[in-house]
Assembly symmetry: C2
Homo-oligomer: 522 residues x 2
């Protein structure tokens, strides 16, 4: 029986905007059903709270400092291996439907003389997956994708119907309004729900599954570009929630007193200043919730299809997000920094096998990271994990038993490089100094900044992260201990990517001697 | 007038085994002449005291943690750029004569469909240089190289005349003796001096120069494999020095009391145990000195040739080594660890231009690193340094003026991975934990080991590094300060390799808006 993998990702979905993670108003029964049959991870972190770098970590199983994708526009290095590269030799067809947002450098590939239309090159430009249906609404080239052709076929006119319909809104008087502007988030998208991005993406996922025979092995990366900007939902999803459904922003006046310089620079970005206003939150968050509700409904449709083909019995299903969204918490919009709303991700893993019976419906509070999925997939598929490259740890032991392995990691790491972003200009620092690293263990979250003092939060006493202890003299010892963890995290990076453990272990004086090399014998 | 580059490297040449660096008995007048006309650097460090990783740093201008070459057999990653790659677009022919000891992964290159006989592939297998004459005596495939053909043409018989003549010795009774065995270092190589490796290498360098017209721009990497093992010199060089010319070993009984565990494991290697015996030092070091003397004589011949063609006036000449040799100091043989005899390198740089007039014949005590040569070459050649990849700093300001730039680095970094070496087995630790990093500033040298305590030396009070303060309670604060430098060194690594500063600086909200992306506007 083939062991299939359905890897579902949402873009910019906050971990706590699902009912299985405790959202008080938003019901997501189809996603919750995965939690009920699998494991819900309550301490899962992305490796970078920014789309492209985070995805590069999901795809390669490696930290940002290892794969080197630090901005959305950075190419992945030529010789990085991705999920698709590891699963292909195991007989898997690995395809993406939706947002890949990761590519190797097309010019470098061409310099090597590779045909840009070859299977290899096409996957290299789509996160290592076969580009079954790539749709990346935000990128400038987006007007040439399959979704736009689909819209044109259904009568949506113009050279860019994605821009003019899917992310444009119409107010009560039928006036067109710019979907990028947050004041317009209350209005519906200028498109029927059945033609919207989320629905199209689900339908194309089903098209992919239709092509698979029951004996085929496949990994489908179903990658919704929602609820990411622009926050525009099609009717009726624009109208399901209202300001009464919104929790108050998590923020304090104290945060505005002499904040950390990098934090301040992010607070001064237009999106943060907008989100700092209640009227913005009250208009935008209901639309954000509606977009999530739509995804949940579409997943219900997809899961019904899986059941109809008995695929639930042999498909590992993962549900996650590339990072969160501040939504005005801590006076911030967007993501980028390391408060929980930004860096923590939802993560549900359903392993259909009997070996996972003990953990069904349970919550796991171990520190897990986005990079853990790739080795989980490889182990589930029956392959050997390339420990010489892969920095994540397979989650399979945590799916088998409530008792974690004794050496499971004690802290999670996430990184950011904001050299291509607004705060760099405000801070007026060189691009290569725009870096920060988070180390988060059970109690403490420490954030190292280049050129600036660190931040420190006590998550036991201050779970909302409102009290920055980064300069507090009483916590010098904690900071020193956290710096040791930071060094520990750096030493674990697998900069060497070419040689397997077994090869290394076979080297040394004995091997040298078989080659006629005898060093130091009298 | 073309600006040529002659980049001379010796293998395993200790920094203090040249008369310009103060050796009391060994006269190296031709090398000294470079010091007299250029700058002698008294604090130059290799990035890894091991051939392949060190060379990868010289060739890429990047630290070991960045280029990922940690063992001699590790391939350089496909998309690393090397000296040749940077100089080629500037019109330079960049070639290697001698030892390259660095290659990209031939299987990966083939997987990309590149012709293995193409210029690109041939350079990719030779450290990025055109392989004018590659001779790497130690590698198993060495019998097939040009030097072996040369020997066969001159009547040296058998399938591997390198092994049977160049590194085999004959004692006084004409018995053949194994050149790898240190007891035989007093005997001459079984080869005429004019056919020995060092002479052959010099002659081939002259052959390369013969092909160059005066208007051609070239960079010649002249890479002697001597005085590296086996320590076998041709007559008369085996006989120029004797035990009276040997300085006593720098070591103390205290070093044997409860040494650092990694240090102890290196002391227990066969080569260290051999070198710990005086009779070994007395037989081997004279041969080591003879091999250096031979290089100096050969360089005299080469410099005469350069003068005869007026090439001294427009050629930057660099003389250095990939790392040192313990020669029994600290009870160690070989290199690998971070005492000065191993990690410090000789470095002489002669810039022929008028702009360097002020510094001729001077000594520079700034912290410089092997990775600084690549940007020096690029600046000398008139190119732009790719700061987004290159981690070294051009030495040109230090060649122009006695006053260093105000932001010159305050510490040097070197790294080792011993996962493929004998001590790993003794310590019985996983391959990926076999790493150490040295941070050396003006006074303190701190060495971080994975899994083990650090080492610390006070180079002011203890220049011979005999007193390890790694656990001394009085130095906890120093260690903490050094750990901060260690973190500082990690944050400077350029993991991102694809995007230039200017591109990054051009990004941000303004650029997004021109693409129709407006994040967070009300």
């Amino acid at each position: 029986m083939p062991r299939n993998i359905l890897f579902i990702m949402c873009d910019q979905l906050r971990w706590d905007y699902l009912s299985c993670y405790g959202h008080p108003k938003l019901r997501t029964p189809n996603i919750d059903a995965l939690a009920a049959r699998g494991v819900r991870f309550s301490n899962a972190y992305c490796q970078a709270p920014l789309c492209g770098p985070s995805r590069a970590s999901f795809y390669t199983g490696r930290y940002m400092s290892s794969h080197g994708v630090m901005a959305n526009e950075d190419a992945t290095r030529l010789d990085e291996f991705t999920i698709g590269d590891y699963l292909r030799p195991l007989g898997y067809r690995s395809a993406v439907v939706g947002k890949a947002d990761n590519r190797k450098d097309a010019k470098m590939i061409a310099a090597f003389g590779v045909d840009p239309e070859s299977e290899f090159a096409r996957a290299a430009l789509s996160g290592g997956f076969e580009p079954f249906e790539v749709h990346e609404g935000l990128l400038p080239g987006a007007q040439r994708n399959g979704y736009v052709d689909y819209l044109k076929d259904r009568g949506y006119e113009g050279d860019n119907p994605w821009r003019d319909f899917a992310i444009t809104t119409v107010d009560g008087d039928d006036n067109l309004r710019n979907g990028w502007h947050m004041r317009n988030s209350v209005y519906p998208a200028r498109i029927e729900e059945k033609h919207s991005e989320t629905t199209f993406t689900t339908n194309r996922a089903i098209d992919f599954l239709e092509q698979q025979d029951y004996d085929d092995s496949w990994c489908l990366f179903l990658s919704y570009i929602k609820p990411h900007w622009p926050y525009i939902a099609p009717s009726p999803y624009n109208n399901l929630f209202n300001q009464g459904d919104i929790a108050p922003a998590v923020r304090s006046k104290k945060e505005l007193d002499d904040p950390h310089p990098v934090y301040r620079a992010f607070m001064e970005q237009e999106y943060s200043e907008s989100y700092a206003r209640d009227e913005v939150r009250e208009r935008v968050i209901p639309a954000y919730m509606g977009l999530i509700k739509q995804i949940d409904d579409e997943l219900g449709k997809l899961f019904d299809y899986l059941k109809s083909r008995h695929l639930f019995d042999n498909t590992m299903i993962v549900f996650t997000a590339d990072h969160g969204d501040y939504l005005g918490d801590h006076w911030l919009g967007e993501k980028d920094l390391f408060h929980e709303p930004s860096v923590k991700i939802p993560l549900l893993v359903l392993n259909p096998n009997q070996t996972a019976a003990e953990t069904r419906g349970s919550v796991c509070d171990q520190m897990v990271e986005a990079i853990d999925l790739l080795p989980t997939f490889v182990e589930y598929a029956g392959g050997n994990i390339a420990h010489e490259r892969v920095e994540g740890h397979s989650l399979m032991p945590l799916l088998r038993s409530h008792q974690p392995p004794p050496d499971w990691r004690s802290y999670a790491v996430s990184e950011i490089d904001y050299s291509d972003r607004g705060p760099r200009t405000l801070l007026d620092i060189p691009p290569y100094e725009c870096r920060a690293i988070m180390v988060r263990e059970a109690r403490w979250k420490y954030i190292h900044y280049n050129l600036f003092r660190p931040q420190l939060f006590d998550l036991h006493k201050d779970p909302n992260e409102l009290n920055d202890l980064g300069e507090d003299p009483d916590h010098a010892q904690v900071r020193e201990e956290m710096r040791k963890l930071l060094i520990d995290s750096r030493r674990r990076l697998k900069a060497r990517t070419g040689m397997a453990f077994d090869n290394l272990a076979g080297m040394g004086p004995e091997r040298d001697e078989t080659l006629g090399i005898v060093i130091g014998r009298w």
